[in-house]
């Protein structure tokens, strides 16, 4: 470990923790609202450690969706990390299998974005040290805030509508995901179909909407070219 590079990672990630903290709080509250006890809430944050997928899974568990829908929806949301894994893989190629596994476990949107920028454009750094410096604070803040949210959520009355924080967090993630007209088409079609399909049995509105939205985005791009 190069302490200077580790510290550089911690310094770079610090401002992003301000966005991660309330997100973790919302996931904790959502876990409490779904009826998960503290152990399950912590277990989920440790085993899954992926906010959007956790929130979606909690929402679907709360409404008793079939387990296949719960699990596959969460996995689909995390598919974007395939792109991160492929993109960062060359930088980790010389490491041992166990270390690779550890680094992969803490791969998040933020850890990927900061590290890839530093590896490809910035000055030379010890890659593992920098990456760990970025990823560990995210992991710690995530676990602490989920616990805080789970404890808080159990004590707040339903009329406050704390469950509304869930789509608000998704909204804050959706806006940067809409980067051009094709992704806009994917969002608009996916969202609209999900609204129309909200009455479908087995909570199928979301997977059906998402699938048609992805096809719409890909079609839009193909037609445009």
């Amino acid at each position: 470990m190069h302490t200077a590079d580790l510290r550089r990672g911690v310094r770079d990630v610090a401002p992003l923790l301000l966005g991660i903290a309330p997100f973790g709080l919302v996931v904790g509250v959502a876990a409490a609202n779904a009826g998960l006890d503290l152990e399950l809430a912590i277990g989920m944050s440790v085993l899954v450690f992926a906010g959007a997928a956790q929130l979606a899974a909690l929402e679907l568990l709360r409404t008793d969706a079939p387990l296949v829908v719960v699990i596959s929806t969460a996995a689909i949301i995390n598919l974007r990390m395939l792109m991160y894994s492929a993109s960062i893989a060359p930088h980790f190629r010389d490491l041992g299998a166990r270390l690779k596994g550890g680094l992969a476990y803490v791969l998040t949107d933020q850890a990927y974005a900061l590290s890839i920028a530093r590896f490809e454009n910035g000055p030379d750094v010890d890659r593992v040290s920098y990456y760990v410096g970025v990823a560990m604070p995210i992991w710690l803040v995530w676990q602490v805030m989920t616990v805080a949210g789970a404890l808080l959520g159990a004590g707040v009355p339903d009329s406050w509508g704390l469950d509304f924080t869930v789509p608000l967090v998704f909204l804050a993630l959706l806006v940067p995901a809409v980067e051009d007209s094709a992704t806009m088409a994917a969002a608009f079609v996916g969202g609209s179909v999900a609204v129309i399909g909200a009455g479908l049995p087995l909570n199928l509105g979301l997977p059906v909407g998402a699938t048609i939205g992805v096809l719409a985005g890909a079609t839009f791009e193909t037609v445009k070219q």
């Binding site: 309330p22 779904a34 009826g35 399950l40 085993l47 899954v48 450690f49 997928a53 568990l61 709360r62 409404t63 387990l67 699990i71 969460a74 996995a75 689909i76 995390n78 598919l79 974007r80 395939l82 792109m83 894994s85 492929a86 893989a89 190629r93 690779k100 791969l107 009329s159 406050w160 509508g161 509304f164 869930v166 789509p167 608000l168 967090v169 998704f170 909204l171 804050a172 993630l173 959706l174 806006v175 995901a177 094709a182 992704t183 806009m184 994917a186 608009f188 996916g190 969202g191 609209s192 999900a194 509105g205 979301l206 909407g209 998402a210 939205g213 992805v214 719409a216 890909a218 193909t222």
Partner: protein, 111 residues
Amino acid sequence: MTTGYPDPIVWLAILAIGVLTFAIRVSFIALFGRLDEIPARAKLFLRYVPAAVLAGLVFPAFLTFDGAGGPAMDKLLAGGIAAAIAWRTENVLATLLAGMGSLWVLRFVVL
């Protein structure tokens, strides 16, 4: 409303999601040298997954219909205000404060 699934089932679901998520994360990092690139065709679709899935989670939560009446106005308006703030700031905390603040004003003061 809380989940009707017993704890062991929820544990199993969490474990399954955890295993799949780790498999996605570790995939190319572990296989580098044997499998270096995502096929272009898969990439074409992967690019749209976040926008489509997130919109599929957001739209139905803002546009809800309870019983015979029209849409629930408090959620629709609060969602609209939050969307404007999210667009301008791209900030999770600001979006949360705008959405919850307007939901509470609409629910407890205005409507």
